[in-house]
Every structure is written in structure tokens, then in C-alpha cells.
Symmetry: C2
Amino acid sequence: MSDAKEFINLTPGPTPVPPSVYAKLSEPVLHHRTEEFGDVYKTVEEGLRCVYRTKNKVLIVTTSGTGGMESSVANVLSPGDKAVVHSTGIFGVRYCKILRNFGIEPVVIEEEWGRAADPGRLREALKEHPGASAVFCQHTDTSTGVVNDIEALAKVVREESEALTVVDAISGLAAEELETDAWDLDVVVSASQKGLMSPPGLAFLSVSEKAWQACEKASLPRFYFDWRTMHERFLMNQTPYTPAVSLFVAQAESLRLIREEGIENVWRRTTELAEYTRGRIQQLGLELFPKDPADNLTAVRLPEGVDGKKLILDIRTKERIAIAGGQQELKGRIVRISHMGFVKKPQIDAGIAALSRHLSLTPA
Amino acid sequence: MSDAKEFINLTPGPTPVPPSVYAKLSEPVLHHRTEEFGDVYKTVEEGLRCVYRTKNKVLIVTTSGTGGMESSVANVLSPGDKAVVHSTGIFGVRYCKILRNFGIEPVVIEEEWGRAADPGRLREALKEHPGASAVFCQHTDTSTGVVNDIEALAKVVREESEALTVVDAISGLAAEELETDAWDLDVVVSASQKGLMSPPGLAFLSVSEKAWQACEKASLPRFYFDWRTMHERFLMNQTPYTPAVSLFVAQAESLRLIREEGIENVWRRTTELAEYTRGRIQQLGLELFPKDPADNLTAVRLPEGVDGKKLILDIRTKERIAIAGGQQELKGRIVRISHMGFVKKPQIDAGIAALSRHLSLTPA
């Protein structure tokens, strides 16, 4: 495992963790019913509000991002409710699966992979299926490398329905611009291990007043992910059940770094790195996979005949650089280079150099 | 937070973490779809089987222990199923709440707090309410400091019903004797932050063949906690969703320490420390709270007129020793001293000395 220390990590999560965040992980485990932990809790929650650009409460749950997604379903819907999923990749499909497992067959708007969600199609769907209780969408979908225009989508939701706007910003937060309050987003789900530069294990949910009201009425079964129980403890700077205290302490530190830099500067830096990466990729004669590329991740279409799985493995084992391949139907057909969080130009340069070497390409 | 370093932690979780486990926490975060992580996963799973004394698969979930409890409900039951909870404290009550939130009103056998579960009462309940699908109980309940005779309870379940035996051993595992296979336990839930000497954030579930069959038929809604999805990835030494990789690496190390010592020696050491603690407490003229005391934790009844909440806080702030008070109806009335995991006699001595000082007691 000591080998892992020399890895350059360009995967879309878990992303690299800054040294000062690692240092916090090995501090003694705090008891979760103490003032010391309460201070950490408060620091994380305030930091998240700043990154989310919201006055809403942000709940913190010990779980994977997917647990956060489930929580955003089970707390706002009841059996028989209508829900819309605007899907732009694997994570849209995941929202559909969660809804179906909870007995709700969603109206699904599916975009061609690589295309962003079309607000016009959402408008049609809401007109055709009136009375939806919630619309679920992704800020960015790392499976296809797209970014969605959440501001426009949320506007359509407000204009055409009484539905809640629920956004999975697990990979988008603290990388792409997101304005929870200005864009009027009801629930925004995120997680610790992407733009937030911390180890995985914590999920976050901002909850608007309208979403709290929905939660009170919602009757889908939930216990561990129940916002009502979380809210009781929230007021004491605690969680209802023993949380991953070490991950809270780490997250407090990475949020400190983000606030020190300023969230707008984080967005700007990510955009610059994305533009640089896309430029380098195109110089190599490679094609971007998405039509509407996100800034948190660059998905690159591989030339015909390239064994993408072998390529990734070769770069990993021979160059000690971790880049991601495609998932499901994109397996072997694309590679994905992340520029979220604690990634800088030298790491991107190394990743692209390795990619061009293993594809025997030379810059145009 | 640096002050926390000098704390003596005698709370029933998160319990103290050995230095070599802390060291692992600050190793670089592994990607969860790599062979490196697969090796860690396998080490943890094999270590858990050894501690659980089972050949059953042990699932690993990024969540609090309570998430593990929910998982043990949602994967084995369907709407309309009968369930029995044999409750010996707050965590029995928690099983009832989870069941009710999922629409199942359990048959509840409630023992007086401080008393262990009576197998005779379980037998009567199963005769009176035939056809139960599952019986839920606690190995130890830290709220009251009791240990239950799981071997006897499981025997009654097998003799009187077709029900699954589901045991919450969150605080009992790797402290009190537990034999998953020899006692024929279908589901055993545990978590990282008690006897397993790791930071909180991981829950574990051993699943018997009979419980897997129940899972296939069970129709309570679940997604994140769904064993079927976990099982697909289990076969690849992976989890379905991004796990708390740092906590896996830490847990691998603490399991290494436990296997080095030998699980039977861990049980013996815990029993010796418990006997020592109970002896010292009684020498001080104090009374044990439970009639059937567990070895993982000593719950002590406070003399009339003592403000338990202030006592705990005084010991905490003035002596830098963390002991736990009572919860809910026992708030202010008991103190609880843990001897789970990485606790040794000097720490117990310090805790008891502080307790006697703050209660102005002298040994008889």
C-alpha cells in the first residue's frame, strides 16, 4: 500500500486529499456527544453553506453519495407521488433505480449520453405529466462528463409545476458554479470525496423550506436517512447516530482551505484547468466525448481499435497515474481525467503525456 | 482539538484507537475500483469472519451502526410479516422504531432495564405469536450494561419457529464471547468503533444461507442498504458505492491486531478487566446498575442526590477523563465505564480514582 503514495490521482473520486487534511485524520477520535465535536460539526455545516451558497440548513450523513441520493428521495415523496428524472448518464439511471425500489415509477427524460439536459424537454414533460412532486437531475454526471444548466432547469420546474427541484451535485459541488439560493434549488446532494477534497464517507443535503414541508408530509419509509431525526440533533450540532467523526474533522480542514481560496476562485481555477485539458487533448487529435463538457472532468473518446481497459491499466501500473475509464456501455470506449479539487497543472500534464505515449500520439 | 490528545477515553464508543490504526488513516486514499483496495477489502472481510466466528459472508457498509440495524430489517422482511423484538434497553427500542418506520408493528418483549433477555419469555412469545419471520435482539445493550445469553435465545428461536435470529452485536463483538456459526445466528450486525477499535463509519453484517434466502423474497423497500447489490460487488472484493476507504484501511489494521492477540484472548482480557472494574466499584460502596452485567461495559448506579450530568462534565473538564452518563430515563442516574477494545487497567484505575474523588468516596 505504500506504493499508493507515489500515485498521481486523476480519477473523478475519491480525488486527491491535501496534506493538511490527511494530518487531521490521525487526530484522536472525538466523542460525538461533546462540545469539541459540536464545534467541528458547526465548522463543517457553516463551510458547506458557504460552498453551497445557501442559507438553508445542510444535513451531514455518514454514508456514500448514493445514500445521500436515497435520502433525497425517501424524505420528499409518498407512495403514488409523481416524480420526474431528467437523466444525462449513469447517475440519472441511479435516481430511477432508487425511485423504483421505493415503489415510484418515474417519468424519465433521457438525453443521449454526452448531451446536457435540455430545459425545453423538461418543460414538455412537466406539461405532459402535471402534478409532479419532485424533479431529480444531476449537476454534472461524471459517467458522461457533461454539465447541466441547473439554473435553467430549476426555472422551468418553478414555471411549470409545484415540484421540488432536487439536484445531485455530488461531483459538481466546489468545482462547477452552483448557486443553491439564487437558483432556488430545494435539495442539493453532495459528498466529501470530489470537489470537497476529503476522503469518502460523508454525504451532504441542503434542504429548502419547501423541502422541509414536503418532508413532514412524505410517507416513504426511512429511518437512518430520516431528515426529521437529523433535524432534532442538528439543533445541537450533532447527528442522531454515531457519525464518522474522523471524516468530519478532515472535512472541516478541507472546507477551511476552500474558504481561504474563495469558492469563486475554486470555480475559476477548475474552469481554467478544464480549458487547458481540453486544449491539450484536442492538440493530440483526440475527440472530447461530451457535446456539453463539464469543467470538473474531461471525458475523451478513444480512437477506434484501442483497448481502453488495457490502456487504463497500463498507465496505472507502468506510469503510476490513475485515470478512469468508461462505465457500463462506455466501458473501454472513453477515458476520464478529473480536474476537481486538489489537482494542479503538473498532474494534468503528466496524465496527458502518459496518455499520448500509450496511444503513440504526438501533439499537432 | 489538540487537547483531545490527552483525554482518557472510557466511553462505550467511539472507543480509543491504537496508534498503528491512526497511522493507517493518513495513508493516501485508495481508489475503490483497484486491486489495492480489493486486497484491503478482503483483509477486512476475512478478519471479520474470524472475529464473528463464521463461515458466512460478512457485508461491509459505510454507515453508522444504526444503518446496519436498518439493513438487517429491510433485507429480511416484507409488508405484513411478523417480527419479534426482545428488548433490553435503548437499542431494543431502536429496533422497534425501525420496524415501525417500515410499517411493521413488532411483538415486543420488554425486560426491566438492567435485566437480560429471558429465554423463557421469548419461548412464550413465539408460542403466542406463531409465524414470526424474524426475532431481533441485542448481544449487549450499552444503555443498561447488560449482556444477553444469545446462545440460549437463538436456541429458543430455532425450537419454536422458522424465524431468523437477528443479533445487534454492535457493542458486543470483539468484547463478549460470540459464536455466529456455533450458535446458529442468521444475521449479526456490528460496527467499527467499539470492540473493533477503529473510528466510526463502517457497519458489518454477517448473513447466513437462510438469511440470504429471506433477502431474495423480502420486499421492504431498500436501495443503499440492499444486500443483493452488495453481494454482486462482494464477489469482486468491492462495495457497490464509493466506500469510506480510509476507514477500511484503519479497520484492516485493527483486525490485524485482534487476530495477532487472538479473539479468545480478547474476550478473556475484557472479562478480566470487567471483573476488576466491578470489584473496584463495589469496594467504593457503589452499586452496579444491571442485574446481569456485561463485560464490555460497567454501568454504575449513582447515589441518591448526585447530579450525574454535572459529575460527568466535572470529570471530563477537570480530569480530562471521558466516562459516559445514562441515556433517556437513566440520564443523570448512572455512569458507564467501558472496557471494550483498546482500554487497559491504568486507564480504568484513573477513571475510578476520578469517580471516587468527585463522589468523595473512599475504598471500604
